[in-house]
Structure formats: C-alpha cells, structure tokens
Amino acid sequence: MKSKDVPQDDANMMQGKFKEPIYSVDEKGNYTTVKSVGWDAKNEVMKDAWDNVNNRIDKAKQDVLKGKSSPIAYYIEKNIMDVGIVASYMRIWKWRVRRHLKPSVFNKLSDEMIDKYCEVFGVKREIFLNNDLLNKEEKQINDKE
C-alpha cells in the first residue's frame, strides 16, 4: 500500500484517543508509518462484532426480565465475559457460576457472594439486585453514534 492511500475513514472507533500507525510505502519506495483513524472495511467488521455483543446483551436482558435467568447472565454479557472468565475472577468453579444463573439459586446467595459478583462486574449492589433498572440501562458502546 502507498502512503497516500492509507485510509482515513473515521467511525470514532478510537474515540479520538489515538491514531494507529499503518505501514506503507512512500513515493521513494521506502517503508514508513502513516497514522490512520480508521478504514471502512475494518470499521464494518468492528461494528458487526459489537452488534453481536449488543444482541447477546439484549437477549440476556430479556431472559432476566422474564425471570428465566438471574442478573448475572446480563452482567456477564455486558462485561463481554463468559462463565469461565467470571468463575476465575470469582475464584469459584464454573459449574457454581452456571448454577447461580438460575433465579431460584441466585435468590438464596449469601450477601458475601453477591458483593463479590458486584465487585467483579463493577456494579453497585442496589443496582445489581434491582431488575427493573435493566429497562433503563444504557446500551453498550458503539450505539452512541
């Protein structure tokens, strides 16, 4: 790729925090880096990946609101985690996290356990335990545009 062809298609993927160096060839045929804010093709796949994340969050939210899963299911998706990552942060077995996804089990969890989950998910206890708030929860990033 020629330096002058390095795309500058901004879709706010870097939120203005930095530009990415892209290797390219200048007029003299020498390699150099040109800073880029983005490229349409890449922005498209990034957006698709976030669409997938947001769909999973939405689905988990519906499951929680219908009483099919505990709030843990929603916060797992919201934090782009999976049961394995949550279990390792909680320092408990995966199967225990899976059990805690059931509302009936979740409702009997100790205060200590709830606090631990809150810490892992970075959420306040009163918000974590109040499912009604889920309706008002803002959507994950990239829906800002």
Binding site: Y31, A41, E44, M46, I85
Partner: protein, 342 residues
C-alpha cells in the same frame, strides 16, 4: 512520535509502535542503547505467522491469527541477540507492586503483561478480555505510575489500584503479575546472524508445519472454510465468522494487512543491512501480497454490509485466499532460498 521524560535520573524515550510486544522490546532496548526499529524486532523475533483454528473459539467465533502466541517474539529475539531478561511472577499482588516500586527506585524501567479490559485509557471498542498486552512502567509520582504503552501516542498513567487490577486480570493468558527487564545486554550484537535466524524460522513456520491449520496450508484450509460458511451457517453467523478474520488482520497492532506490511518493512531494512538487492525486490513482492489481503478485507466488509442478500462474495473471498496462499508459498520459498545464500 518520540517523547522523553527526565526525572529520577531516568530518561525514558517512548515511541509509538503498531504492535505492543515489538514496541515494548524496542523501547526497552533503546533505553539500554540498542536501537532497533519495530520491524527489525518483529522480523528477528519471527513475528509473522498464520493459523486458523476452527475448534478454538472466542465469543463463539473460530480464531484466525496472523501472529504466533503472545511472548514468542520476545523470547526469540532475546535468544537471537543474546539479551538476558530477568522475569518474575508473583502470587501475591501487593508483593508484585512492592517489587515494581523497588525496581523504579533503582531506575529500572520494567516491562509487564496486563489485561486490556480494565485499561482506563484505552478506547472502549478495543476493550476486550485480552490479557497479553505489554506495557512499560518507568516512574512513580505521588502514587501514580507513569506508563509507556507502545500503542498509545504519548505517556499514560495509572493509579496503584488501576495498575494492580490490570496486572491481575483473569481468564485466558492471565498475566499473574508477570514483569520483566533486561538483566544483561551484550556490548556488541550480531545483527546479521540474528536476521538470518529470524527469517529462517518464519519461512519454516509458514511452509513446513505438517498440520493443515498453520502457515500457507492454513490459508488454503481457511479458504475451504469460508466457501462453506454460507452453506453451513445462518447469514448472520457466516458474516461474523468471516469478519473475525478481518478483525485479526487489521486490528490494532498489525500495522495493516495482517503484519505483511510490517514484515515487508523488515525485509527492506534487512536488504540494506545485508546489502542485497534481491531482498529488496522480495520486500516489494510481499507488499503486493499485503495489498491482496486488503482486497479480502474489502470483500468481507461488503459481505457484512449486504448480509441479507444472497451473493457469491464468499466464493470470491475464498478464491482470493487461494491466490494469496499460492503467492505466499512462492514468496517464502524464495525468501528461504535467498536467506540460505546470504
């Protein structure tokens, strides 16, 4: 961009790079007087690779990768240049922070592995649970750590708790407080021999691993998979599967087109060091292969945009992958032959 920071007798120069592992090594060595560009570090450390592993999934999507496992570049480069590193892991997080403080008091810029997800200064769309990111901490000011993160343009800072959190991120490749710094640096380094070893290793990885998922064979394998996606998967999933390939190819750190451009830059620099015209020609050849990878990304972008209309783009994408595989095979064979004669 180059910035330097003078305080506590540490002058640490921060240079932005495309890839974190290259960047940390390049910046650390620079501190000890060894000047190596990012492409040079990448080439000597044999950072170029290809693999497609359908059984290994992240977020339910098979993983395609244009690089070896994290830590490999670092390991190979230090071996080939004869640089010894001190490496430590700590089961107790506070002990690891104490050890870091001690290092900083002694004026030792310290490299470390961190998780990206909780890095406060990172843009949100890039904050996944990726745990093999490298940064350098080189100063502590009023309980704040000054950070040289190779993918950022300038210095960043993290509080004690923020740094502790990312050093003890959990999940795949959990960093467990891993930190490292050069213990001994040779007075003179044999760049030519290191370059040759680096090239030989990459050629071997791309051409001879007898498993169909790696190297040039892996690209052909992926072509077959991509062709089958629209038949086997829902249009939504088929698009996301193909999209992941492009994410790996163009994501932060590759420098564009799945590290192919960065490797071309390395070959170009090597041509100058080795005084070899033929190497320079090969560098241009690889650049044109990188351009083909970008074409693949454009087709994929189109697939994702129009995923609800049936089209033959998957075949087009797969055909292109086969062309790329053939070209890369010829390229690495020629490079290998030339390298042996150097």
């Amino acid at each position: 961009m180059t910035k330097s920071n003078k305080k506590n007798n540490i002058t640490f120069e921060h240079k932005q790079s495309a890839h974190c592992e290259n960047g940390v090594v390049s910046n650390l060595l620079n501190f000890y007087g060894i000047k190596l560009s990012e492409p040079m570090v990448f080439g000597i450390g044999s950072g170029l690779f290809f693999s497609h592993m359908p059984f290994l999934k992240v977020g339910g999507i098979p993983v395609t990768s244009f690089r070896p496992l994290p830590g490999m570049i670092f390991k190979r480069l230090s071996k080939r240049l004869g640089i010894k590193f001190e490496k430590h892991r700590y089961s107790n997080p506070h002990k690891s922070m104490e050890a870091l403080d001690k290092n900083l008091q002694n004026g030792i810029p310290t490299g470390m592995l961190v998780g990206v997800y909780h890095l406060t200064y990172f843009p949100d769309p890039y904050r996944f649970h990726f745990n093999a990111h490298n940064i350098i901490v080189f100063e502590k000011k009023d309980n704040t750590y000054v950070i040289s993160d190779p993918i950022m343009e300038g210095y960043e800072s993290l509080s004690y708790n923020e740094l502790l959190k990312v050093r003890y991120a959990r999940g795949l490749f959990a960093p467990k407080g891993h930190m490292y710094w050069p213990k001994s640096v040779p007075k003179e380094i044999d760049l030519k021999s290191a370059i040759k070893k680096g090239i030989a290793h990459t050629c071997k990885d791309m051409l001879t691993i007898p498993i169909p998922m790696f190297g040039v064979k892996g690209i052909r394998y992926l072509a077959k998979k991509v062709r089958s996606y629209p038949k086997k998967l829902s249009s939504r999933r088929a698009a996301s599967y193909t999209g992941q390939i492009v994410r790996a190819q163009e994501e932060i750190g590759t420098g564009g087109a799945g590290f192919r451009y960065m490797y071309s830059a390395f070959i170009q620099e090597a041509a100058e060091i080795m005084k070899n015209e033929k190497l320079l020609e090969l560098s241009f050849e690889l650049t044109s292969i990188g351009d083909l990878w970008r074409e693949f990304a454009i087709i994929t972008g189109r697939i994702i945009k129009n995923r609800n209309t049936i089209d033959e783009s998957y075949d087009k994408a797969a055909d292109l992958l086969l062309v790329i595989a053939d070209k890369e095979e010829i390229f690495f064979k020629e490079l290998n032959k030339l390298n042996k004669s150097l």
